[in-house]
Every structure is written in C-alpha cells, then in structure tokens.
C-alpha cells in the first residue's frame, strides 16, 4: 500500500459540547440523587441541585477543556481525562470507518457525535468517540481520517434513496410489529402478579366489559385494530429509516437515515464479504426486499450495515452489483435440497402441534382440538414453504445460500472471506443422507449455513469452495459420485 499523505488536523469538541457532557454527568448522578431525595425529603432539594450544578458544570467544562484530538503523522490522538489523563493513539491504517450520528439533543444544538471504528485486533475494543462536534468539524475529520479528499472531490453517487411511501410500505410489510404485541402481552402477564390490588385483572375485566358483542361492533373493532397495527408499523419504519440514503464514493459506502436521530454509517468497500437479501411472505406479495452488507471486522452493531431497508425486488440485482460486481442474481434458480429435507421440516413442525391436539383431546375440549388442528395446519404450510425456500449454489466465485420463510434470507458471499468451514450431522440427518454445512465469516459477520443439504451436495460445495484445502479431506468413496454432483451444480 502506498503511503497516503494526511494533513494535520487539531481541535477540541464544540463549546456547546459542555452541555452534552454536563447532561451525561447529571444523568449518571440522577439515581443516587433520587435515592437521597427519597431518604432525606424534599427540603434537601435546593442544596442538592446547587451541589450538582456547582460540581457538575465545572467538571463538564474541565472535561471539555482537557479533551483534544489531533490527526497527524499517520495517526489519530485523543487526549482526555480530568483526574487521570489518557492519550489514545490509533494508527490511521487501523481505522475502518467513521460513524456520524445526530442524537436528539445534538440536533437541537446543531452538533453531531463522531465514533471511530478501529480494527479490533486481539481483544481490546476501545470506544473512540467524540461526544459533540460541529458538522464542519465532523466532515473535516471524516475526510482526513478516511483519506477521502480525492473521493469527495469526485462527488459521491447516490445508489439508493428510500422515499416515504416506500418506507411506509416497508414498515407495514416487515412483520416486525407482530413480535411487539407478544412482548407486551408477556410483560402484562408478568406484571399481573406484581402490581397491587389485581390491577391488571381489573383492567382486563373493564376492557372485556367495553368490548362490543354485536357483529358490526366486532368487525369495526377488528378493522380498527388492524389499521392501528399497520399504522404503527409504518410509523416505526418512517422514524428509523426516514430519508434513507446510500451513497458511494468508490472506496466507501455511506448510509444515512433517521428522523429524530440521524445516523450516518460508513462502510469500507474492501471489507464487504457479501450481502444478505431478506424478505417476509408479505413483502414477497409486494415484491419488496431489504439488503444488508456482510462486513468483516466491524463490531456487532445491529442494523449498522443496512444497504437498503426496503427496495423493489427488481432493483436488487442492480444494487448488489454496484456493491459486489460478482454478485449473482437473487432470482436465479438454486440447487434444491433432497426430499428428505422436506420430511425433516415437516417432522419438526408437526411435533408440537400434534402434542397440543393430543393434550386438547385428553382434556375433552372441542375448541382446544379445533385450535390445535388449525395450528398444526399452519405449521405444515410453513414447513412446506421452509423446505421450498432451502437452496444453495456456487458459480465459481460466489456462494449463495437461501433459507427461512417468515424471515427468508438469501445470502451471497465470497468464499475468500470464510474464516472456518464446518460440517454438522445429527443421527436423524445421517439416516436421511443429509448434513448441514456452515461457513463462519468472522467478527461481526456471523455464520451462514446450508441447512439439510444432501451429503453429495455438501461434498460438491466443499470441493468447490476451497479445492486445495478441502478436496484432499473428502472421503474417496464419494469422489466418483462427486464428479457428477458438481457438474450438475455447475450446469444450474
């Protein structure tokens, strides 16, 4: 790598950062303060507040004064500390990305928060953040830290921008909100025992008294509930992903999003190992998907690598190819897994509902039996779809894996990014000639697997993914059959 020339940059946090720091100090002391208030009574309120202000504000000012950053001589230095001083030095070539976010308070003050992603070598994952700087400072820092001066001059290209209608539709079809009511019910049931005076029971009874009993009332209530749930789904998506924009300056991808808190995430293109394309049954009807980059070397941060929260399915391949020129088309047919895999999906899906049917029959509850039978039917439909979605493929440069039904995931990845290969086989899988192939991708990128692949299919994949490493390990007896298997995979 040729040495890049980095200009020197030095500075402090924005003066208004004092407010942000003070808020953090005061926030940290709120609980002990509340405890003091409760134990000593309200007459200590004024002295306490005075103490907080007299201690907290000077501390925040001092902390702001001591914090300095400096970029130069190929490294970033952060000096900080009121009582104990610290200087943290990070070589610039270890910096993986710079995240700029705008928490709500920052937005009010016109400031941004900068977090530096450094390669986590070994185990020390130091957090490198600048609590509050002006937007101009953040841009200068980003340009210097990432050496993006030349790229910025060329102007980044917008790869994808999600408008409000698309985001609202994406929120409605994400089905994520279906999980939330379950969580609320769970919390409610837990609270039922803890709240005094049978509060939850009484609230429940009152709610039941208010429920309409005639057909029209029930229909109105049901329709109202559905509209409300969909509205919440759409609103959540709009709030988090408002004006989602993905730009490309050829070295890095930058994704920015959010209505109240605006987040900007930068992804080094060299670290992209592949991409996940996800959808739900509802999204399949509307032909929508979401795309996430598989990025190695980033700390696990949920949603940090989203390339598109919602995207029309026809545009998927185009966007994938900009990110990874070798990306296969997600609609290209994949190698199906053997019929035995379908039997396994069915067996696994039917076991629990079958038990429920038996239990309901034993209790002589016709409604219970009917409910359990419906449940069993749904489980079978789901299992059949889960089997239908199972698939894999390898075109010589990218491994493709697909699985899941309610949350279907299609992944394409570069075998060069695989950190470890693993083959698993349970007794039931061995009886049916199946096994599961797992590829581990390392730090933050997780693992992807081919569930219940045929043994010959798995052998073919292994031989193709890394021939020099894996072919010598294959059992000789499966080699002649393998020739056929791999040629049939190549033909697809």
């Amino acid at each position: 790598m040729e040495p890049r020339e980095h200009p020197t940059l030095e500075g402090r946090l924005h003066p208004l950062a004092v407010l942000v720091i003070a808020r953090r100090f005061i926030g940290a002391s709120l609980i002990p303060l509340a405890a003091l208030l409760v134990s000593l009574g309200t007459r200590v309120l004024v002295p306490l507040l005075l103490a907080v202000v007299l201690l907290g504000v000077p501390l925040a000012v001092l902390s702001w004064w001591r914090f300095r950053y400096r970029v130069g001589a190929g490294r970033l230095e952060l000096r900080s500390g009121v009582l104990s001083r610290s200087v943290r030095t990070i070589p610039l070539d270890r910096i993986r990305g710079v995240d700029v976010s705008e928490p709500f308070v920052h937005r009010l003050l016109g400031l941004v928060k900068v977090e530096v992603e450094a390669a986590a070598g070994g185990g020390s994952k130091a957090e490198l953040s600048l609590a509050a700087v002006s937007r101009a400072q953040a841009n200068a820092l980003r340009a210097v830290l990432l050496g993006a001066g030349a790229a910025a001059a060329r102007g980044p290209a917008v790869l994808h921008r999600a408008g409000p209608q698309l985001l609202a539709l994406g929120g409605v079809t994400s089905l994520r909100y279906l999980v939330a009511p379950l969580a609320i019910v769970g919390v409610g049931l837990n609270l039922a025992d803890d709240l005094p005076g049978g509060f939850v029971e009484r609230a429940g009874d009152a709610a039941i008294d208010l429920l309409p009993t005639d057909a029209l009332g029930i229909a109105v209530l049901a329709a109202g509930t559905i509209v409300l749930v969909l509205a919440i789904g759409a609103a959540g998506s709009l709030l988090v992903d408002w004006n989602f924009t993905l730009t490309d300056d050829r070295e890095r991808l930058t994704a920015s999003r959010g209505l109240l808190t605006r987040r900007i995430v930068t992804i080094d293109r060299n670290r992209i190992r592949g991409a996940d394309v996800g959808d739900t049954p509802l999204r399949r009807i509307f032909r929508l998907v979401s795309i996430t980059a598989i990025v190695a070397g980033l700390r696990g941060r949920t949603g940090g690598t989203t390339l598109a929260p919602v995207l029309p399915a026809d545009e998927t391949h185009g966007l994938l190819q900009v990110v990874d020129p070798a990306a296969p088309d997600p609609v290209a047919p994949l190698a199906r897994h053997p019929r035995a895999a379908r039997r396994r999906r069915l067996q696994r899906a039917i076991a629990l509902p079958a038990l429920a049917v038996l239990a309901a029959a034993a209790l002589r509850s016709p409604w219970g039996v009917a409910g359990a039978v419906v449940l069993a039917g749904l489980a079978v439909v789901l299992a059949l779809d889960r089997y239908r979605q199972l698939g894999h493929g390898f075109d010589g440069s990218r491994l493709v894996l697909r699985s899941g039904s309610l949350r279907r995931r299609w992944s394409e990845l570069d075998p060069a990014g695989v950190v470890a290969f693993e083959l698993r086989s349970s007794p039931a899988q061995r009886r049916s000639g199946l096994c599961t192939l797992v590829v581990h991708l390392g730090q933050g990128a997780g693992s992807r697997r081919a569930l219940d692949a045929g043994e010959l299919q798995a052998a073919g994949l292994l031989a193709g993914l890394h021939p020099r490493l894996l072919e010598p390990l294959l059992e000789r007896s499966s080699s002649p059959q393998l020739e056929r298997a791999s040629s049939s995979i190549a033909a697809e």
Binding site: A420, R430, C435, A459
Partner: protein
C-alpha cells in the same frame, strides 16, 4: 440416490493422546462419586426423619444420576475418543468430534489468530495439554482437548509456523 451415510469427509489422521481417556474417566468417576455421596447423605437424613417415601425417591433419582454419569463416561472413553481426531494439513487444521451430533471443522492456516495451550490440574496429573485455536469468529474457533506435552508443543509450533505467527503469541 445411494448416499455415503455421513462420511463425506475422511477421518483426520491423528488421535488424541490415549491418556485423555483416563482423564475423562477420572473426571466422570469423581463426579459420580460426588453424586453418590450426596445421594447417600440425603437418603440418611430423610430416613432418620421418617420420610421414607421421600428417601426412596431421592435414592432412586440419585442412583440413576450416578449410573448415567458412569454410562456417559463409558461412551466418552470409547466412542467420543474414537471420533475426536485432528490433523494439520498443508493448508489448514482439520478437527472432527462428536458422537451422535458429529462435527467436522476446517480452519485455513491463514485464518488462525491465536493458538493457546492450557493445562489444568487434572491435565497436569495425566501429563496432558489442551490446545485452543481461535479465529476471528468465536463460532469458527476450535479446540483439541487432550494431547501429550510433546505432541502439543509440536502442534503449536507447526500451526504457528504455518500461520506465520511469532512464537509465544
């Protein structure tokens, strides 16, 4: 289609140190002895306080638990020992393990981050060393639970050389 029945990968060349069986047996035996002692104590206490039904239940549960531990020990020293194998190939480390739920792991040398050796009190008693090989992925890391001291030293040396690591990291 004729399936090769769970054997698409050949077994790795090298077995663990034979003494690891003695170590596993000792561990399980100690646990079993502990469970038996606890059972006997519980039964005696319950019997002395005229809780004969409870004493029977506790005694039977405890006995079953101890027997299960012995049975698992027997399986470990036979089947698990047979299936737990490793091999350093030209390009990677290859480890197989498991009895019912079998696992084959292959880690390319270039992906190895650290090679750790550990010897607990029991390991030292039997002159054994456990080797752990870590990659950037926690799930993709692997371990070889019992090697003789020279075999472990040789393995670490070879892995370090192949991964172009400095010694001692």
């Amino acid at each position: 289609m004729p399936a090769p029945q769970g054997a698409i990968l050949r077994p790795p060349a090298q077995a663990l140190a034979p003494r690891v069986r003695a170590m596993w047996a000792t561990t399980s035996l100690l646990a079993s002895v502990g469970a038996t002692a606890a059972t006997v104590a519980t039964v005696l206490v319950l019997a002395s306080s005229d809780e004969s039904t409870a004493a029977w239940i506790a005694g039977c549960t405890g006995a079953l638990l101890s027997l299960a531990m012995l049975a698992s020990a027997a399986l470990r020293v036979t089947v698990e020992y047979r299936n737990y194998r490793y091999e350093v190939t030209e390009l990677g480390l290859y480890v197989s393990s498991g009895w019912l739920w079998r696992r084959w792991q292959i880690v390319p040398h270039s992906r190895v981050q650290t090679v750790d050796t550990r010897a607990g009190p029991l390991h030292r008693l039997f002159g054994l060393v456990a080797v752990q090989v870590a990659t950037a992925s926690a799930a993709g890391s692997t371990a070889i639970p019992g090697l003789s001291v020279p075999a472990a030293a040789e393995l670490v040396e070879e892995l370090a050389r192949r991964a172009e690591l400095d010694e001692g990291t």
